[in-house]
Symmetry: C2
Subunit: 261 residues, 2 copies
DNA sequence: TGGCCGCTTTGATCCATGTCAATACGATAA
DNA sequence: TTATCGTATTGACATGGATCAAAGCGGCCA
């Protein structure tokens, strides 16, 4: 979609296996929010034609990033938030002593950069894990437009709030779950997010390394690797490097609620 | 302040030790946002007189809660956000299997309830840890008013964003720190928050149990207790039940950046 | 085609924190 | 004052995950 200026799910640089029947409603042909396939994940849901047009003019600019390129870094002045159009990102924080932690993985339709609003400075790094493209949404313009468009205002608030709830979930995971539960939760979450984008729930390609997964889950990479192996032994999944096939989703879910205690 | 309808820091039900010189600017006498002592922590910063008046009329309603009473519960329909006026709260999430996690502690001037915006339903429980009072801010009215008042809009966005950043910090803590680092970070955070409210940085009264601290920090209560004891042995703090005196703040800070590795 | 390099897997061992249990403390109410 | 109950402390022991180390695997570039 980047190169062509045209856009469909299928053209995404995000090559996913098992790209199964994409609902027609998700397949867009023209550019801009008004035609973006990520409508319901992003800010434009429920806007009228005229309102969409206004949003389009605001969002005009795009930015392409190569794998491993930073969208922004901790300390950068905050000017805009970003909607992931294609590709895959991680956000992470680096402590002075060298320890770092991945705080999230973002895929198409998700918003990046809201951490900068409060202080006018970004508090984390955002890095593309594969070649990606984002819509640049200048923040002061977004605030201005959402003073005019109630629905846009509310959509934005919803996006921020959902981010808060996501974070709560991650705290829960980090605070109370054991290694295998964490990984099961992670896989189910990935699966669910791929699903809601029209991809297979059962088979996908992880964009991040074991170390990044571990950092996100508060585990060491060896522990992640071992948990993958165990899941495979138990017939829950098939792993081949970054390629994952979920064989027994129900089994994974069972891991979640059955803490040993 | 509740009973009298009048309000100053000193009347707070929050009896803190060492309530040291409160800057005059923080001491308010009348009620309402326009005179609230929590100005700069809350939503009203930078508003003009007329704007403040409008905000006042919106925020009119208050609610008092007794210790252990719920402000809202997970699943409750979302209608309003709440500004803590006096007292002390915790938020927590309960998993089906009985495990729960404290996701935050909120004190005067902090906002509760934003987790409900995205789904129209609260995703966590908010419980008063001591007798407390909140300002009720009906959310749709807040959205309406912040379409009129740019500064209010921006203040609200800042509050949400800061909450995101706070959560990132907690993830970092839960994901990468060892027990003593976590507790040191917790104590320093408490100290800093008390300070910015005009209380002593060095001496305060914890409102929560060891178990609640542990839940928040992803530790068992015994581990919290042991870490307190160790800090005391090392002369970093003096602990007597819930009463904490910080003897060597620099020493605590050193614990943070010195991971063993 | 071969060699290098980053990533992943697997094994052996260690240690921080969890678990279980006993006791102590402090506030409250009788 | 004493009994009670929730909370906190402390000790002994168990264990999940970290750490250290050594191969394996695969992709990429020369």
């Amino acid at each position: 979609m980047d190169q062509s200026g045209q856009s469909t799910e299928r053209e995404s640089e995000t090559e996913l296996p098992n790209k199964s029947a994409v609902p027609v409603s998700l397949v867009a042909i023209k550019a801009a929010c008004s035609q973006c396939s990520l409508h319901e994940l992003c800010l434009s849901e429920g806007l009228s034609k005229e309102e969409l047009a206004k949003l389009d003019s605001l969002v005009g600019a795009r930015r392409k990033l190569k794998r491993q390129q930073n969208l922004y870094r901790a300390g950068d002045p905050f000017e805009a938030i970003y909607a992931v159009r294609t590709g895959f990102f991680k956000t992470d924080i680096l402590l002075e002593d060298g320890r770092d932690q991945v705080t999230g993985f973002q895929m198409a339709g998700e918003i990046l950069g809201m951490d900068g609003i409060g202080t006018e400075v970004h508090s984390c790094n955002a890095v593309a894990l594969e070649d990606s493209e984002v819509c640049i949404i200048p923040f002061s313009q977004l605030e201005q437009l959402s003073r005019e468009i109630k629905t846009l205002q509310h959509n934005f608030h919803k996006v921020m709030s959902r981010e808060l709830v996501r974070d709560q979930g991650l705290m829960m995971l980090l605070g109370t779950m054991r290694a295998e539960e964490r990984l099961a939760a992670f896989l189910l979450n990935m699966s669910q997010r791929f699903t809601s984008r029209g991809y297979s729930a059962a088979e996908f390609h992880l964009r991040m390394t074991r170390e990044e997964i571990g950092s996100y889950l508060g585990l060491k990479l060896e522990t992640v690797s071992r948990a993958f192996s165990r899941f495979q032994e138990e017939g829950l999944i098939a792993v081949q490097q970054k390629h994952i096939r979920i064989l027994d989703g129900a089994g994974l879910k069972k891991l979640l609620n059955h803490q040993p205690r």
